[in-house]
Amino acid sequence: MAPESILQLKNVEAAYGPITAIRGVSLSVPRGAIVTVLGANGAGKTTIMKTISGILDPTKGTIELEGEPIQGLEPDAIVRRGICHVPEGREVFPLLSVHDNLMMGAFTRQDRAGIAEDLEQAYAYFPILRERARQAAGSLSGGQQQMLAISRALMGRPKLLLLDEPSLGLSPKLTKDIFEIITRINRERALSIVVVEQNAAMALSHAHFGYILEVGRVVMEDSCERLMQKDDIKEFYLGMHAAGVRGERRWKRKKTWR
């Protein structure tokens, strides 16, 4: 790949006990790009995220951040190296206030001035968070919690942001808003982002590059514009159906991934 990549996975395998969840995934994230990983339930998307951020150790393969191997490091060490993970289902600290949640995101940092600056920035991205700064995070709506989770990750001043299903449980309108913010953050800060999504149409239209995952393996990779033109993507991910002779069609053609 021509542009320099910030993150590189080579033949990564990870397992939950006896069950291998990802079987040899190789992917690379160009610096400053949004890369999306799509796949059905159980394809291994979240596992990839957890393996990158060190929550799960790979049984095989290497993960390199800016050329340095990071596989097997403790999650906090990985955060210190600049990867922040927004987990699936947001996972804000419900009993802490919004402000304290954000400060937890800066836990690894010492530069008070920088932290204050980033806090200000977070409130600028999501003004609603400033309004609710003193409120317990558990009392926020789903969309607000997602905003908080993203802001909390940004408080770590990451080089690479991992977003696991930001649209989960959000209305179409909110999903759109969240993705617009993600694009904006990417543009303004030149922040590299990996986003895992079920909402393929949304992810493909906002990301630069995409990987399709099927039962733990990459079956397709290309730029998002090109992916959107592929027949398999149209039928299986974008729900576009060439209507049959009867005006309906229930059967699915076989996937070929080309």
Binding site: S26, L27, V218, G244, R246, R250, W251, T256
Partner: protein, 603 residues
Amino acid sequence: MEIDTIPAMFWQAVTTRGDKTALRQKELGIWRSVSWKDFGNTAREIGLGLVRLGFAPGETASILSNTNCAWVYADMGVLGAGGVCSGIYPTDSAAQVEYLLADSGSAYVFVEDEEQLDKVLAVRERLPELRTIIVFDMEGLRGFSDPMVTSLEELRRLGFEHHRDYPEAWQACLRGRRPEDLAILIYTSGTTGKPKGAMLSHANVMHATRGNAITLPSGEGGERMCFLPLCHVAERIGGAYLAMYSGGVMNFVEKPECVPENVREIAPTGFLAVPRIWEKFYSEVMIRLKNATAFERRAYGVAIGIGEGVVERRLAGKQISFPLRAAFWLARTLVLANIRKSIGIHRCRWIATGAAPISPDLIRWYMALGIEVIELYGMTEATGAITVNPIGRSKPGTVGVAGPYGEVAISTQGEILVRGEHVFMGYLNLPEKTAETVVDGWLHTGDVGNFDEDGYLRITDRLKDIIITAGGKNITPSEFENQLKFSPYITDAIVVGDRRPYLTCLVMIDHDNVEKYAQDHDIPFTNFASLCRAQAIRELIQAEVDKVNAGFARVEQIKRFSLIEQKLTAEDEELTPTMKLKRKLVNEKYRPLIESMYQKEAA
């Protein structure tokens, strides 16, 4: 009733075997048995249902479905009603379906499900002779109604009523055909041009089936797997009709992907398959060995070594000493039995391979496991088998002796000629092609071969596949290709080099095994194309090519090869429905790739 037609044979089986099991179909994880009586009733309802709809003797019905029990029900229904039955591959496109329905002049077509139905609906306007479409599985079609479409259930209801109203009708139908009448159409998969409909008469089929009962013995109650396409001569004649004749049980697998698992569950007593399946089983064992413990690998090495020693002596006609026999018994009981069991062939009296060339080494491997292997040679135009390796006197590398089928001769050009009752009636609508193929009763096979001193036939190549290099050297590509296919990493290969300075090869890799290799050796890849492009994978295939090259003279060696970077499926035009690469089409379609193999040298 004289048993000289398929319906007569079928009804004889139904009346004599009654409540015994005729077939099993795996549905949602459960094997369901069907007795001969029920099989007979279903076929009768289908046959009389067609009669009720106006089906006349001699009319054609096509079946567009995967291999399942409904396929044989419909087949027997159509033939029982005095019709002609033609099979269509479920992987064919709508355009191909149109061609086959039009060429065969089908008045009725049975379709498996919604997916197949859509193909016929898309082209039916251009098929004036088509009257009714019968759907096996109505799932997803509850709300659909069309005057031309009916369900198998509905057809059977009509047949049931017809039988109630005219109890004698079915017997009259069964007697309606003479042995010399056309029974089935089998379209040749056509590695070149449009498919041609080979016309097989009842006499052809019965003659071939009687021969098969001798060469592929399977007593009543013998278990057979049914999973190859029934539109192909091998499964239709050597599988289904042989089972009806001899009383074997047909076991229909759940899905094509489930074959290995279903084989293990049934443990067939006789197993006819194409080389691709045998290659697949072999590579599965090889891959499993790689993951085995060092002790297991040692045990396998010793045991297969003993097995190979025994096979070698047996093939050379030498006595097998008592210690060797004892060692082989031990090896078989302790080690090789497990390998046979892991494939599911431990109860097999024989396994048979045909329809495509196979590597003799692979045959020897199965023999070393302690299994009788029957390699046979045949073609659609000869209603299946032409020569067969006799059980116990098999010679790997040959396709056996003419046996009970008919005469086999070699023409002055070296072409294999066949004469006998199994030689087909001709190609439908193609009298000139027929005249070219059958001359004075001799079927010209288009294959080149010779007999050895014991009368075993050895096939050297297809007449039209022979490559003549720019240097003037005649090359028979299949020899090289078959050895290459023996590698677990290579599924198929095509040697190129006609009028070229040297030979090159297009290789289709085995996706699963190569992917596994890449993973084990930390070779990064994402999709199929990047897997093919990985340097280490090219080196892996290069090593396989080098291995085969070592056994050939310099001019016969492959200088360069390319990998086909697209994963091909049965739906792709490059493959025949039996998953063989189509030589001519591949040669044209991959022209730029082939050219590149001849340009690099200059650069």
